[in-house]
């Protein structure tokens, strides 16, 4: 240690830092040009961020793939609005956002139509090209690829409330004073806004009158007051299994499928036979659309990944990625459908999927969502 003094050490560190500072811009420049070839960043709902989906793609391409999962669409979109457009390559959100919000705001860019349109031919019939939510409003551009979807209304324990009673009674179950304290509410506030409107007998996807807003507020206060708990998917399934609750507001195959796959087929996602939605429909469904971000330095792997998840085996993996299990549009391809076992089909309620989707309107944007959400948050606070 005789040759090393504090002074020489500090001088050495100083020289090192200086060299690093001088080389920094060069290093960054290299990174900007080279690393995007082997780098992919995905902003998505849970599932696409799982190792089962990403690891084979990493091995195949040798790329560094990062995926961040969030649990609501507005947060993901605002990440792009807040300046992260340069960070992400793919964004995976529910159906209306790409077409109605992200494309007009230039947050995403169209896909090469000729390369991707043929994939729609192998999807389930309702997704055949030109599929509305995958196209721009003018119908010219293909703006995303579809994969996971499902009905999403509420979930019951059929040992306590039969499927028939739940489907016939529909949303009025949450207006029944006898069920106060026996239901939970999934912490998914955008969907809860939709569903409180529906429980109040109002179509959520329109501009609401002051009277309708008053009714929404009253319903929100009553429904939240009567809830035994508000929590995440795991909490809802646990409370249903243990018998703490008999049903929960906001839920569907996406939320209940893990419990069904885990040996609880008595828990079932319900789509009511009728409701106040357009055409008298009783439920709402969602369809995920994955789009390429309008990143000025978009990774070429973004389109490769979108093609990769169309393959039958990868689509099946996406359907049963960790967290939640869902039907996928690619099940229209026999090679993909045959990969699903009987238990897997039962977990995603394949037996009633078509009729439930037919009874549902597609997820849309509530024009006065901010106001309704403020009223709902205030109602939540008054629970205690």
């Amino acid at each position: 240690m005789a040759g090393i003094s504090r002074r020489s050490l500090l001088k050495g560190m100083g020289t090192g830092l200086g060299a690093l500072a001088a080389a920094g811009p060069l290093l960054n420049a290299n990174k900007a040009f080279a690393a995007r070839e082997k780098e992919l960043n995905i902003l998505c709902w849970e599932g696409y961020n799982s190792a089962q989906v990403l690891d084979p793609f990493r091995s195949k391409t040798g790329a560094t793939v990062k995926a961040e999962s969030l649990t609501n669409d507005p947060t993901m979109i605002n990440r792009l609005r807040a300046g992260e457009i340069n960070t992400w390559d793919l964004i995976n959100v529910n159906n209306p956002w790409a077409r109605k919000v992200m494309l007009p705001e230039k947050l995403i860019k169209p896909l090469p139509k000729a390369e991707f349109e043929p994939f729609f031919a192998n999807m389930l019939p309702q997704f055949k090209a030109p599929y509305k939510w995958a196209m721009s409003e003018d119908g010219k551009d293909l703006i995303g690829m579809v994969q996971r979807f499902g009905p999403y209304s509420f979930v019951v324990n059929t040992d306590k409330i039969s499927r028939k009673t739940a489907e016939d009674t529909g949303w009025d179950l949450f207006n029944d004073p006898a069920l106060a304290g026996k239901y939970g509410i999934l912490e998914s506030d955008d969907w809860n806004v939709f569903n409180i409107f529906i429980v109040a007998g109002i179509d959520p996807f329109k501009v609401h009158t002051p009277e309708e807003m008053t009714k929404f507020e009253e319903t929100a206060k009553r429904v939240f007051k009567g809830a035994k708990l508000i929590g995440d998917i795991a909490s809802m399934n646990q409370a249903l299994i243990s018998g703490e609750i008999d049903l929960h507001l906001t839920g569907g195959t996406y939320s209940v499928s893990p419990a069904r796959a885990d040996g609880h087929p008595n828990l079932r996602a319900i789509t009511p036979l009728k409701g106040p939605l357009a055409g008298g429909k009783g439920g709402i469904s969602w369809i995920e659309v994955t789009s390429t971000v309008n990143n000025p330095n978009l990774s070429p792997l973004a389109v490769e990944f979108l093609k990769y998840v169309q393959a039958p085996d990868v689509a099946h993996t996406v359907a049963f990625a960790e967290g939640t299990f869902n039907p996928v549009a690619q099940m229209g391809n026999k090679a993909c459908f045959d990969l699903f076992t009987k238990d897997e089909l039962d977990a995603i309620q394949w037996d009633s999927l078509e009729e439930e989707m037919a009874r549902s309107v597609e997820y849309d944007i509530v024009p006065d969502y901010d106001k309704a959400l403020d009223l709902m948050n205030a109602a939540k606070r008054m629970r205690g």
Binding site: M1, S5, R6, R7, S8, L10, N72, P74, T75, N78, R81, A82, G83, G184, E187, D189, D190, K228, L229, I230, G231, A234, S235, Q238, A239, S242, G243, E244, D370, L373, D374, N377, A378, K380, R381, M382, R383, G384
Partner: protein
Amino acid sequence: MADIALAPAAESPAQLRLARRLSAGARCAIPVALLLGIGFLAPLMAIFGYAFATPRSFDVFRSFTLENFATLFDPANTVWVSFVWSCGLALTTVAILAVVAYPIAYGLNVVFGRWSPFISVLFVFPLFVSENVRLYGWVLFYIKNGVLDGTLKWLGLSGGPEVLFTPGITLFGMVYTYLPFMLFPMTLGLALVPRDLIDAARDLGAGRLFIWREIELPLAMPGILIGMLLTFVLAIGATAEAKILGGQSIIVISHDIEIAFTYSQNWPLGSAMAVVVTFFIGGLTLFALSKLDLDRMLGRR
């Protein structure tokens, strides 16, 4: 290691000028200051900037409005309910922990002897497991047909009490989570009390209560107060207990802030709430510290 002291570094005129402006200590502190500036102050400044931005926008530092604060202090806004719950739960947690942790801290100093390190580790050990995992563990314990209810039914009894998803269980979760943060400063505080003083007081005829009130408690007070402050500051920002154990039977202020940043996408309002809470806690802490004379408590004056 003869060359241990920093030698005068100035050699060129430029270096001489710099040396005149900054002492060696200040220069050495530059990396730390930069790190703190980027990692600690910058996010705080961003939050502060957002608090004055147009509601539901991202116009940070480009717009200035007091609208977010006006919304918060509007009498029609029910956000005060969350604030009162957070303060109430935090104060109650501190009060319960002061009573619960004191005997344990006393035991660790005086009673447990060679077992003290082992018992300390037992209290530290849960901190190695994620808080959420521990709280979900308690849910499994208390849930219907769970560990407690199932065991009692198996024994032929009527089952466990229905305590989950209530404000009471939220308080239980907070007391459980923050116990080590009260216990260890308190243990250190009690370790500061010289045994000689207690022995001398006893020799002079002082009773146990008198010794506790006049010697032990005042001398241990710095540790007790630091424990109380630490626990209060952590507890007022607690969210997981009210969410996981309490089933959101009440909404705490940190959860309200989270909702503003996520589902509401109203970053400016969330920032304004964060600023108000930060100033409240900061003000309260400074007020408490200004009223408490640690030197006097330590008997140094």
